[in-house]
């Protein structure tokens, strides 16, 4: 009895031998992909002539004059003030005071993060970064409010154009190479946020870019198995709730001088720096899903 090969091993063999010959990839009807007509050169439309409509509101006439006056006055002010500041790079600037000395001198001991910037962001001034990930969340809400077409007028791009990108051999082969690299580098960036440069935001953005490239090269349907609207909302809600609750606990312990069970750990190891690693992972997940969500909602009105 011929053992039925599991679908996965067939796909693996197919992928391995690179036998993506292009003919069978095209759907049945042999669509001669139409050459895109001369790309619309985005010349600016002729600016509206102020006197065209005859109805000149005071606002239309005064706005350019007032704006240029405000801009020039402000620029002169800024230049004069900037010159009076201490030279860049001089060590007697007021910005080098006991504030920064403690960040660098005791940063590693108190927060456990080798990368002092990550320590400053996620432990010393943690309330800003708590607000920061919620800025991204509120932008995601606003964009969803605007562009999410729930069954209404569908903003789907016409299938012919998607066909061009998804069967483009150059894009597919480079994507096959780059996307895993991007995702691995993004994960490395998130997990090593407290040891080297990078962190939740940059790692999440890199993974987001990887997801966008994958959906561009291999089509949305294949990525939808992993990331659709339901799983997007679950990831964002779980990550942000964990972030808020963890930070609320550490603020409460700090303010009431209670000893919180989160210890900075031995600096230099991956699982050190107390809360910073899980927070970086949470922020990275939120940023990656939101960036891909922006792209997908812009492109086709749903995630």
């Amino acid at each position: 009895m011929k053992k039925k090969k599991s679908k996965f091993s067939q796909a693996l063999r197919k992928w391995d031998e690179g036998s993506f010959d292009l003919t069978d990839a095209l759907p049945e009807e042999q669509i001669a992909a139409p050459l895109p007509e001369q790309p619309y050169d985005w010349q600016l439309e002729r600016p509206v002539v102020r006197l065209e409509q005859g109805e000149i509101s005071m606002y239309r006439r005064l706005y350019p004059i007032f704006a240029t006056v405000l801009a020039t006055v402000m620029i002169l002010f800024l230049f004069a003030a900037m010159i009076a500041l201490p030279h860049t790079g001089s060590t007697q600037t007021p910005t080098l005071n006991e504030l920064t000395d403690r960040y660098v001198a005791d940063g590693m001991r108190e927060t456990g993060a080798v990368n002092v910037v990550a320590g400053v962001i996620l432990d010393y001034r943690a309330f800003d970064t708590l607000g920061e990930s919620h800025v991204l969340y509120s932008a995601a809400i606003a964009v969803l409010m605007l562009l999410l077409s729930l069954g209404g007028v569908s903003m789907e791009p016409d299938p012919r154009e998607r066909l061009i990108t998804e069967t483009d051999p150059i894009l597919r082969s480079t994507a096959k190479l780059i996307v895993p690299l991007l995702v691995v580098f993004g994960v490395y960036n998130i997990c090593n946020g407290h040891l080297g440069p990078g962190g939740g935001f940059s790692g999440g953005a890199i993974i987001g870019a990887g997801l966008i490239l994958y959906s561009l090269a291999f089509g949305f349907e294949r990525l939808e198995r992993l990331l659709n609207f339901k799983s997007y909302r679950v990831i964002v809600v779980v990550a942000l709730c964990f972030y808020s609750l963890a930070k609320c606990y550490s603020f409460y312990c700090g303010a009431n001088h209670l000893e919180s069970f989160i210890s900075p750990g031995t600096p230099g190891r991956i699982f050190s720096a107390g809360l910073i690693l899980p927070l970086n992972v949470a922020v990275g997940a939120v940023v990656a899903c939101t960036m891909y969500g922006f792209y997908s909602v812009f492109k086709r009105g749903r995630i």
């Binding site: 600037t93 808020s244 609320c248």
Partner: protein, 496 residues
């Protein structure tokens, strides 16, 4: 460190959690969550206020393990607790009051996103009240701006999207300038938290070094927050923004969001520069002049307007002018008048927007005054609420408007130099206010055009009835018994 000091932290984290959760809930569940959240935040802040009044002194609460030059901090005081309780109450009333228009305007599936944006506006208002750190203020200003833009454009007609774009452009210019102000201040003092900034600015001002960058930072911050809250030359986005949004969001935007920025400006005046340095730097005259120009220009353009909602929006630009005039007069009495007028405007303007929306519904959706003729006879409660709000804006005795105008005049007497222009501006803008509000009132209470008067029964709008009556009762109560509120505010100002 009493338990009450932890309450602001719990309020903010609760708002953030509700904002995140309500994006997955169904719309009616999200609506109830927002209403319960507003109630919970108001009660927590009132509890904190009572604890502070019964002997607790205003302290600063460390967010995390590190004291103020290193870690973030929030500052707990009487004024902060009072205003965040008032903001939570007014947000809840707006959501309750604007219910019928919300159900009509909004797409059913996206309503939970609207309530998530409302929670984010509430957290940004609280953070602006409580923050003790400039950069935290900037981050929560951004949350407030984006969430307010979200609330504004939820009603998908062409005009709201255009209004949202213009609102965003003006707000981003404002927050860009505010950000540059923070950078210059950091370059000169090396600190970001208000107590340390205060000492550094005092020493710099006395020693006279870095005088120009310090003044630039002050001007940039004041102009940035002025642009965002609709001060005179930058109030052109107001009529579109408040005129075409759903009345609930118009109330929240005009009554609360612009007030949050003014409260942050007052914190900067008191805690970052100190009243001595601020009133010696001459920036307050700039505010004073722009405030008076705003009062006059706002009222004049409101008179020229015949669309009821745009008229109310222009009158809100005039009221912002009152507040900035108050700040410009003098530190003690002027700012007391400004604080009281912030409370007045926050309590009155949402009531007027909700009443106008009910009246235009009763008159079959008409927006301008001709079609609204006799609408008050169709909906008695909305007519009464609109009348009370209008009299409040004019400043009739027994209403809060009268008390704030009285405070401004009293402050003008104490600040000798600015006596004549203040009194002239107060008189002129009161006359202009009376003109266009009376015109609207007479038109509303006139005989309706078609004689068939089908009255809108009270039962169908329980939520609007509750909201309008609470607004009215609060307005009259504080208007008549103003002394306890004034003593509360002045006691708060000392410890501000």
């Amino acid at each position: 460190m009493n338990f009450a000091c932890n309450l602001p932290l719990f309020c903010m984290v609760l708002c953030l959690l509700c904002a995140v959760i309500s994006s997955v809930l169904h719309s009616t569940a999200a609506r109830r969550l927002t209403l319960c959240l507003a109630g919970a935040v108001m009660s927590m802040n009132l509890y904190l206020l009572i604890w502070l009044l019964r002997g607790g002194q205003s302290t600063s609460y460390m967010m995390g393990h590190y004291p103020h030059p290193w870690g973030n901090e929030i500052r707990i005081g009487i004024v902060e607790a009072l205003f965040s309780a008032a903001f939570a109450l007014i947000l809840g009333l707006c959501v309750a009051g604007g219910r019928t228009q919300l159900l009509r305007d909004l797409n059913e599936k996206k309503t939970n996103l609207y309530y998530a944006a409302l929670d984010l506006v509430l957290v940004s208002l609280q953070a602006l009240c409580y923050t003790n750190d400039l950069f935290t203020g900037y981050v929560f200003i951004e949350i407030g701006t984006i969430a307010a833009c979200g609330i504004l454009m939820i009603r998908q007609i062409g005009r709201t999207t255009l209004a949202a774009v213009r609102y965003m452009i003006f707000s981003l210019i404002g927050s860009g300038l505010f950000m540059l102000g923070i950078i210059f201040l950091y370059a000169v003092t090396g600190h970001l938290l208000m107590p340390n900034l205060r000492q550094a600015v005092e020493t710099l001002w006395d020693s006279g070094s870095y005088r120009l960058p310090l003044l630039t930072a002050l001007c940039l911050q004041v102009i940035g927050l002025g642009i965002k809250s609709g001060l005179f030359p930058f109030h052109f986005w107001m009529p579109d923004t408040y005129g075409y949004a759903t009345p609930a969001s118009a109330g929240v935007l005009s009554g609360l969001v612009s007030k949050g920025y003014i409260l942050l400006l007052l914190k900067i005046v008191y805690d970052v520069y100190g009243t001595r340095v601020f009133y010696a730097s001459g920036v307050q005259n700039l505010l004073y002049i722009f405030g008076i120009l705003g009062m006059i220009a706002g009222s004049v353009s409101a008179m020229r307007e015949d669309d009821l909602f745009r008229m109310i929006a222009y009158s809100s630009a005039a009221q912002i002018g009152y507040i900035y005039m108050g700040i410009g007069i003098s530190p003690a009495f002027g700012i007391l008048g400004a604080l009281f007028h912030i409370l007045t405007h926050a309590l009155t303007k949402p009531a007027i927007f909700l009443a106008a929306a009910q009246l235009s519904d009763a008159a079959g959706g008409g927006r301008d005054l001709e079609t609204l003729q006799g609408a008050a006879h169709r909906d008695h409660l909305a007519g009464a609420a609109f009348a009370l709000g209008a009299l409040n804006m004019i400043g009739l005795p027994m209403t809060m408007g009268f008390i704030s105008k009285y405070l401004f005049a009293d402050a003008a007497f104490h600040a000798g130099g600015k006596l004549i222009p203040t009194l002239l501006a107060l008189a002129l803008s009161t006359i202009l206010n009376t003109f266009y509000f009376m015109r609207a009132l007479i038109r509303l209470f006139n005989r309706p055009l078609d004689s068939a008067v089908e009255r809108v029964p009270m039962r169908t709008q329980v939520s609007y009835t509750v909201a309008a009556s609470v607004f009215g009762v609060a307005n009259l109560a504080i208007g008549i018994f103003a002394q306890p509120m004034l003593s509360l505010l002045s006691q708060g100002l000392e410890q501000f």
